[in-house]
């Protein structure tokens, strides 16, 4: 079945290539970077052109920009507290970058940069380093009491402290794996069902066209599901960042 290239190459879509032609090849500018730039430009464009009219009653674009802003603003204040406003720009940037990355990845021929653990890992590391920095700045060395909650018997310290430290260190891993796994799994499923269609037509000819409607319908349903996942994963990443920031600001 896998003969002459008709097998399922589900992971080929995640292969990095060079972007921007010759110049990109010379400086190792990848197709992943292309989409990152595009996401950045689109976000800036959305905010700039969306907020340009400054209308009392917003138009469509302005409504999108305002909803995005308000959504994250509320999330920051609800999860972190009043101090959350200080971290709003960071969370907003993170959320919109991931959201646009996930959504752009759904277009044919577009690379999904959030499907690479190098990218999600870097984002998660950024979050954890920032959160730790915030905690150290707010509480100084007092921060380390985070690893030994008050009211725990001293006898348990050798057990509790390593566990708490491991739990803390596992945060960037779980943040990055969750986003990466969700995006990769979704896109692999697209590829697999799309390959089924081609294989059916290749194997059964005209009858295959009839049967190929099945995978097509599944792919359409998957697209709706992936839209949800794209939003949900960006949301989860942002809200977990907020929760970690809450812990950093308030220590428990």
């Amino acid at each position: 079945m896998a003969a002459n290239g008709s097998g399922i190459d589900a992971l080929g879509q995640f292969r990095l290539g060079h972007g921007l032609g010759e110049v990109g090849g010379a400086v190792n500018f990848t197709n992943s970077n292309e989409i990152m730039m595009l996401a950045g430009v689109l976000i800036l464009g959305l905010i700039y052109f969306g907020m340009k009219p400054r209308a009392m009653v917003p138009g469509r674009l302005q409504a999108v920009a305002e909803m995005l802003y308000d959504f994250i603003h509320t999330m920051c204040i609800e999860q972190i507290g009043e101090e959350g406003k200080r971290y709003f720009p960071f969370v907003f940037t993170l959320f919109s970058f991931i959201l646009f990355g996930n959504l752009l990845g759904l277009f044919p021929y577009f690379f999904t940069f959030t499907s690479h653990i190098a990218v999600t890992g870097a984002l998660a590391l950024l979050v954890i380093v920032l959160v730790t920095g915030v905690a150290l700045r707010a509480h100084g060395l007092h921060f380390f009491t985070y690893f030994f909650p008050a009211g725990v018997p001293k006898l348990l310290a050798p057990l509790i402290i390593p566990i708490e430290i491991l739990s803390y260190l596992s945060r960037p891993i779980s943040l990055s794996i969750r986003l990466f796994a969700n995006m990769t799994a979704g896109h692999v499923m697209f590829e697999v069902f799309a390959s089924f269609m081609i294989m059916l037509v290749g194997a059964l000819g005209a009858f295959g066209y009839v049967l190929a409607v099945g995978p097509l319908v599944i792919n359409i349903a998957l697209m709706g599901f992936e839209l949800l996942v794209a939003f949900l994963q960006a949301y989860v990443f942002a809200i977990l960042t907020c929760i970690y920031l809450h812990d950093a600001v308030h220590l428990h």
């Binding site: 909803m67 959504f71 509320t74 999330m75 609800e78 999860q79 057990l159 390593p162 566990i163 708490e164 491991l166 739990s167 260190l169 596992s170 945060r171 891993i173 779980s174 794996i177 969750r178 796994a181 969700n182 949900l232 949301y235 989860v236 809200i239 929760i243 809450h246 308030h250 428990h252």
Partner: protein, 109 residues
């Protein structure tokens, strides 16, 4: 006549209030997925699949970190498999702690 007008006005006001309340309701519902009561304790969606995936990842990630640390220490100190064994146990415990943080009650909220 004036009685009638008053009544009309009152009814108009009442219907305005009702419409306003309805509009506010709609606005309130508009505020996307973080409605406090019916979600999981940390405000994440109560979507069971999402929660299940999250719990799995939390369990796994603590174990991955623990394995990496244990393996690294063993390589460094040539004590294989002492630290690996210790850290696998600790990692499992940390994973359970992570899960508890996800599904358990959140302090300070």
């Amino acid at each position: 006549m004036s009685q009638n007008g008053d009544e009309e006005q009152e009814r108009g006001a009442a219907s305005f209030e009702a419409r306003l309340a309805a509009a506010r309701d709609r606005r309130g519902l508009d505020q996307p997925p973080a409605p406090p009561p019916e979600t999981a304790p940390d405000g994440l969606s109560s979507n069971a699949l999402a929660l299940g995936l999250r719990v799995g990842v939390e369990l796994l990630s603590a174990l991955v970190v623990a394995l990496a640390i244990g393996y690294g220490l063993d390589r460094w100190l040539h004590t294989r498999p002492l630290f690996l064994a210790v850290f696998v146990l600790l990692g499992g415990a940390a994973g359970v702690l992570n899960v508890w943080r996800v599904v358990g009650p959140r302090p300070g909220k």
